[in-house]
Subunit: 348 residues, 4 copies
């Protein structure tokens, strides 16, 4: 950190929606000075040209990634495609930077799993061991001491916050879990793809990747940590015609029919600044967390079966990406965990 | 039917979205003449004032319900709130009309169940026995011979078409079924409610009625018929920010891991004009059936669990309501089952 | 036309939204047999893979354009980018085909204007003279006798139908006209562009091309024909976060304050099957014409100024493209003008 | 103001979207303490029950309006239907409160005009003279000295900021002005109305109130002040299927064809913290100001006519209502004008 207590921050790959949201949050963070935003393709353009909401707020231009410029920062965020951070992180860590990767490079502890799901060998498996999975509600103390944080995926954040309390308490079976997850379109990133054209998405709903999604091993890894044993999970993601938001509907077979699930969730998250357990009978709406770092939860026991159902909502770009990254940065630098993440989101 | 082979049709309660869709379909049905459209609240107004798409297509005005005028028709459709058809049906049946109820009055065979879920005693339990549940894919022959058809609910249609083949074949457990269903907003009807205001719904996603939805007993009843034994079902409906469409994501534990689910579905529906089983690996989109009477299905076995997942999409106002009602009418009157239901829907 | 009265039709460039809508309309047109659908990029794929609404309705596969195959058809539709039809049309006309171009190649009568707005010399200026501008409400008789029809643009169709009656009658000034037009996103075509990504468009509204849009000379040319003298027009298009629909709000200074504009519009369009003048005080909605070939109009005189305001709505893919093309085909082949275009659109 | 420099604020009528946005802004305003939120219909309920985004941010419950409780505040905001503030304001002003009315009660200086457009006599015409029209870009110094501020309407804010510079400079004709304005649905308020149901609005576009809208006299009054003489204005509002945002497309005949309109706008707004003139050739998007107090402008001279076109975007709930009210409060209390209004909005 610089002498005056200001954190000098760099964002590598700031042209996607995750990067843009990170820039928005960092630009108004009272302890941060944005120093560098990199992009190969947009080098030279003003950030505000791509993201007009940042006009007058972020004065930087994109620049090509320069290792020296990055290494001079206190923290480097990677908002890049998978596979970029693992190439650059070792040198930055050596230079004394903290690194927060918003992509998937350091999320899976097992390099074989990584290779299986991401289609190439991992570039620095040694760092997989050191990296801390940045879900503060599960690994807060480790994050505080970390150099390298693997910021969780959006679906995994919602699914883990929903199911961890039940699995930790042993009140549900670790087998036969179902996470039926729904995401807004911004989760697909900012790119000129046909499948996410307005006219291909608007007014329609569909599942995708029912044959296997990369977030499956990440969710499974986290839930198994909570359960203290392997878990069996069926995960089906869906695309919702809306911009932001994830809704995870999570089903688990009850082991202890008499368990007070509401109390269990409330106890688990009582001290958490960003997890809000709704009163009994509630149904969280994605709009209630839009633009914020909150996760809102509700638990139900529908008639007709013997399942617990936990409903979880987050903003995929905030608690599911950029906001959680800022929360992790706050932890890394010993700041108030909620700093720069306090505002209420607009509604409607 | 009138001498010239034209079916004289009445629509009771034609001011909702289901009624409007029914009017649209009947107006272009080559064997139907729309005679009467009733509404107490809108009596005297032109149908096209409420539904500008029908300007120049439906020349009728709403009129107050008149038993004699209705009884002079060959078929009377009820697109009314629950509880209306059961009051009026007996007299119409006596007069020789066929009755198709698009509401829930005749869907549950057990009057006690009806009372439990609809909050009042059933007005004509005797007719519950005679009424045929109008899912042609399950009860085609009975429908042909019926006087009174209980048109299925939208969620039940999607869930039944998805799960019946697996349950009939015995390849999945009848316990622990999960139907995670998502509906467009038109399913909530056309009324001045705060919860379905544009600004309350747009850009947001939520579950609702997780504590128990009226379609649960209806789905359970149908699935149990298919399975030949009771089933255990957890049903959670969700609201999607789109106008039309239902997507049911249905989970079932495999009893026979080696079963060829794709072949099973294809065989089951080979002869069905309105059920389309997609090729392996597909994900049906609600927009692909918009404005049509089709149900599109795909089956998956995601990694990580031992569940079969069937994805089903319908247009809630067509196959989930008005279109299925016309299909049932075609069966009742010995017409080609697809008559008036042939067009492809617009896309995008 | 083939001996049995069936029109053999080809669609060149059937992978865009205009092409898909044309395929949908032709597939259910009682006098047409779809013979050929071409696409270089998608050759070999089934049409229904790209457009799942056509599954079971259009059984064709895309094929590379083959002049012989096209020349064997009675009518060839071009749903191609600008510049394609003008290369291929001469040979097809020689072979005796009728040609309907849904792009802009034959819309402007002046080759210099064409070159100015489309950025290259016109390939067959001689045909510009022969081509008939396919706005049936203005050129019906010429279309009946044509070999080559230039199907109008979407904005020009709405603007012309709104303003022609006032200009023809001389009740407004031909100078100082304003067309403030709003279009759904499907008007931008089906392509992997960043600007029309869901997340770039949803929940936002903007003008575009305020510095000059290619439809300006086309609108001006048509209005000048109606006025019998040059007109001065300011045209600003806008992008609406919806899929289909154009709304043109047209402003003109009244020359004759006492003119009965309502009667004038009603008289002008009394016999037109696809133009519907709404009652005084109405505001047409784009959804009222969705999926149909209708144009709906209303005229107002707002307080505070001395302007006539005409509101016009069409479905940009139907009356603004594919539907008008089918209407023109019906005229070319002496069929009932409304054949295959009768259905009411779905609402909501 | 209380001794410690904290402004005690009351919001009368906090159940609409304007009120909710005001609560959101005030809750995070560093110089404000929210004391009272009133609602007759919702008295006793927590604010966060109606607006889940405020859960954990606003702990208040609605209470019935109590004159004494309100009079004990430093500032009272009225986010009520038209006609409420004019009944209550006199007593609050006597008690020494500052009053900011977000409704229309004090916007028109002429009581006869008010009566004509709002359908009843004004309750305190004397205060119309004292009230200051709260458009800081036009009346900043008067607002600083005011007791009673009439917060401008949403359309009038956008139209005035677009056209004032041109009229003040005399480069356009004051006659024949056209404001073609488009608004998101939240402008219609939060109420259980059929016309703003999701399924009535989604996927459709329409004009409304073309026969005369209440914002016409308000816009005219402001523009006439800028022009120093009467103006002639045609104003047509439209409804866009989106939640937030206004886009005003403003047309004016050029008096001085050589005027440098870009420089004129830039000069006029150089010192304004909330007005952003975009570079030449730009098209402002409503999403670029979502959730913020900014107005973004661009000016064009389209070919084909001799008109200047100014494009203006605001968030109707912020610069068009609650944000401008906070800006006015800041001025009233001698605070930094931008206090509590600094954040960038989320995008996408």
């Amino acid at each position: 950190m610089s002498g005056n207590g200001v954190i000098r921050a760099a964002v590598v790959g700031g042209t996607g929606y995750t990067g843009a949201e990170l820039l928005r949050l960092l630009a108004s963070h009272p302890a941060v000075r944005l120093e560098v935003v990199t992009s190969r393709s947009e080098a030279g353009r003003e950030v505000a040209e791509l993201f007009p909401n940042l006009r007058g707020r972020v004065a930087l231009r994109y620049e090509p990634p320069d290792p020296g410029r990055l290494a001079a920062c206190d923290v480097v965020f990677f908002a890049t495609p998978n596979g970029t951070a693992m190439e650059a992180a070792p040198r930055l860590l050596e230079a004394g930077c903290r690194v927060i990767d918003l992509a998937a490079d350091f999320r899976l502890r097992d390099p074989a799993q990584w290779e299986r799901w991401y289609g190439r060998p991992h570039a620095c498996p040694a760092l997989l061991e050191e990296a801390v999975y940045g879900l503060p509600e599960l690994h807060r103390e480790a994050i505080r001491r970390a150099r390298l944080v693997a910021n969780p995926g959006c679906y995994p954040t919602a699914a883990a916050l929903a199911l961890l309390p039940l699995l930790e308490a042993g009140v549900v079976e670790p087998e036969g879990l179902v996470v039926d997850a729904k995401s807004g379109v911004s989760g697909a990133g900012r790119q000129a793809a046909l499948a996410t054209q307005y006219c291909e998405v608007e007014g329609s709903f569909k599942a995708y990747a029912a044959g296997g999604h990369r977030h499956l091993p990440e969710i499974t890894q986290t839930l198994a940590q909570g359960a203290g044993r392997p878990v069996g999970l069926t995960f089906v993601p869906h695309l919702v015609p809306m911009v932001r938001g994830i809704h995870a509907t999570c089903y688990a077979r009850l082991r202890e029919p008499a368990a007070d699930l509401q109390a269990l969730l409330e106890d688990r998250y009582r001290a958490e600044p960003f997890v809000d357990v709704l009163p009994p009978g509630s149904h969280p709406e994605t709009r209630s967390v839009r633009g914020t770092n909150l996760c809102r939860l509700a638990v139900h026991r529908p008639p007709g079966g013997h399942l617990a159902v936990v409903l979880a909502v987050i903003d995929n770009l905030v608690k599911g990406a950029a906001g959680q990254a800022v929360q992790n940065m706050n932890l890394l630098f010993g700041l108030e965990e909620t700093l720069g993440l306090e505002g209420a989101g607009p509604l409607p």
